[in-house]
Symmetry: C2
Subunit: 361 residues, 2 copies
Amino acid sequence: MPAEPQSFDRVLSSMCTDPHPAAREAAVDFLATNPGDPGTYPTISALEDDAVDALGEIAGLADPTGYIASGGTEANIQAVRIARERAETARPNVVMPDSGHFSFRKAADLLEVDLRIVPTDDDYRADLEAARASVDEETALVIGVAGTTEYGRVDPIPELGTLAHEVDALFHVDAAWGGYVLPFTDIPWNFEHAPVDTMTIDPHKMGQAAIPAGGLLVRDETLLDELAVDTPYLETTAQATLTGTRSGAGVASALAAFEALWPDGYAAQYERSQANAEWLAGELRNLGYDVIEPTLPLVAADVPAQTFDALRAEGWRVSRTGNDEMRVVCMPHVTREMLAAFLEDLDGCRAVTTAPVASDD
Amino acid sequence: MPAEPQSFDRVLSSMCTDPHPAAREAAVDFLATNPGDPGTYPTISALEDDAVDALGEIAGLADPTGYIASGGTEANIQAVRIARERAETARPNVVMPDSGHFSFRKAADLLEVDLRIVPTDDDYRADLEAARASVDEETALVIGVAGTTEYGRVDPIPELGTLAHEVDALFHVDAAWGGYVLPFTDIPWNFEHAPVDTMTIDPHKMGQAAIPAGGLLVRDETLLDELAVDTPYLETTAQATLTGTRSGAGVASALAAFEALWPDGYAAQYERSQANAEWLAGELRNLGYDVIEPTLPLVAADVPAQTFDALRAEGWRVSRTGNDEMRVVCMPHVTREMLAAFLEDLDGCRAVTTAPVASDD
């Protein structure tokens, strides 16, 4: 097998990162464990309780219920599933901004609920009035995003939560990526700031845990009961997770990262990442690009497709938004030096790709 | 964090095992990679193609399509989802033997299909006539199990496949646990033996890979298209997996185990495990228990609840079937010495738990 471990030297597109050393070590220790079978693997199961408590502490939820999922997609699917099970209509609908992650489209397809997409405003945040016009008595769930995938924006979480509860819908916050940086901002996003019912918050993104470690939190433990399926052969009698066998590595890693970094390490990392994003935004503006200002450590800029392709050819892992901007996620592995090298290559690619066609004079 | 890595010394209940050293090493190398984002992580994505080819080789499917899933539950859910998407009825049904894994109940709940449970015969295999009586024109999927969770039985796979196709249903084989041992038996179970459309076959069970590594194989690549959801922000344009971010560790580990063990290592392991199971069955019979003969390396025996509980109290990780038999899965980490120690404790527990109530004479 061509074992060529991942290098993050040129990765600017991923919302995952190189795990913290403590997280990596814990993942290795618990590689062969399955928190999905707590009777057989009690140690990792107890650690999962601690990991959920950790997520609760980050997200302002005392006495939290939830679990460490395979990732944000599973957690988002489960939130939609809870809402569907709670709904008293045959065809419930789910209201989310167009900045919502594509996992919600997957969830809607899987669970056969209607997804009502609400436009975002000039600053790429959910348009509250449009959301208000979209909800009705068959709305089972309203979704707000706390750190959008494309622009790193945070929707008006308290207002969306109030709106959801006005129509007896549940309110889900997708903080898969933003959850580990938002505690160090003054932006309202969590269970203390708003009537949040369920939340996705992923240790394996800004939490610096090893994959797979997503997180699902629910305010009221009865919400998780909506997901329970009877489990013969296992010691426990019910299972609320979407998957069966699960990764102990992810669970142990999430907890180890938290213990190593919460809160000071995460705060320092947020400061570094945010400063890098703001610096990159400034440099891109200096180069003449239209830049979408970073609220969180994520920069999008209007870089032409040709230049983008040339950067990809140079080995830079960058990706594009639905509006064809280039996006750069300033994850912990993204250093100022890396961004400087990237900008140098960008400048070089630009010179080539925007050079005038050779004339014969 | 109380990092106390899992010991398998007394684990007789799990269908997972200590990974092969090569599998462990590969998992560690690829901990920080995400095959769910092939544009960013091309190396692991290419390894996944090889891992799927490996599964195809084991399961008798040339030019296979599929992916490495989080586990058998995901693969089973996806098989039901494919069938639901293919069905031309509003309320499709799925026919499976009562020995089917509980993940299919989860799938039915999630996907809102009707699950028609067919009884098993005296040997714990799907009753063909009952299956025939259950299918109708709204049947989207027939499920056969190749290595049941409770008794390690293999359903009449070719006959079930024929039956499925007679009513234009798809045919799914759940070989999550059995897939890596059945190639060394003369039992028909795979794509060559029967008109199988989709199959679950998990590297992280008898394949000795690290968790999470389940497997989904489909005979016709258009079946996987039923699952595709558009993916903005990623380089690839569609994603057929249930989860989003996925574990590169599981993928690399599955391939490394295959390269180390296929076919001779797996064959030798099967021989050892099967011999252990048969030996254990004989010893249990000698102790006076009713034993269900092992077809594959899994033994169930009618051990009373009191004795079972006493064994659990001694630290033995055993579990029970729906019929309250004790079951022991002879995974690769289960040695003859371990079984001998278990039998000794069983005998001791039996003496205590079956002792007559103290009389006053």
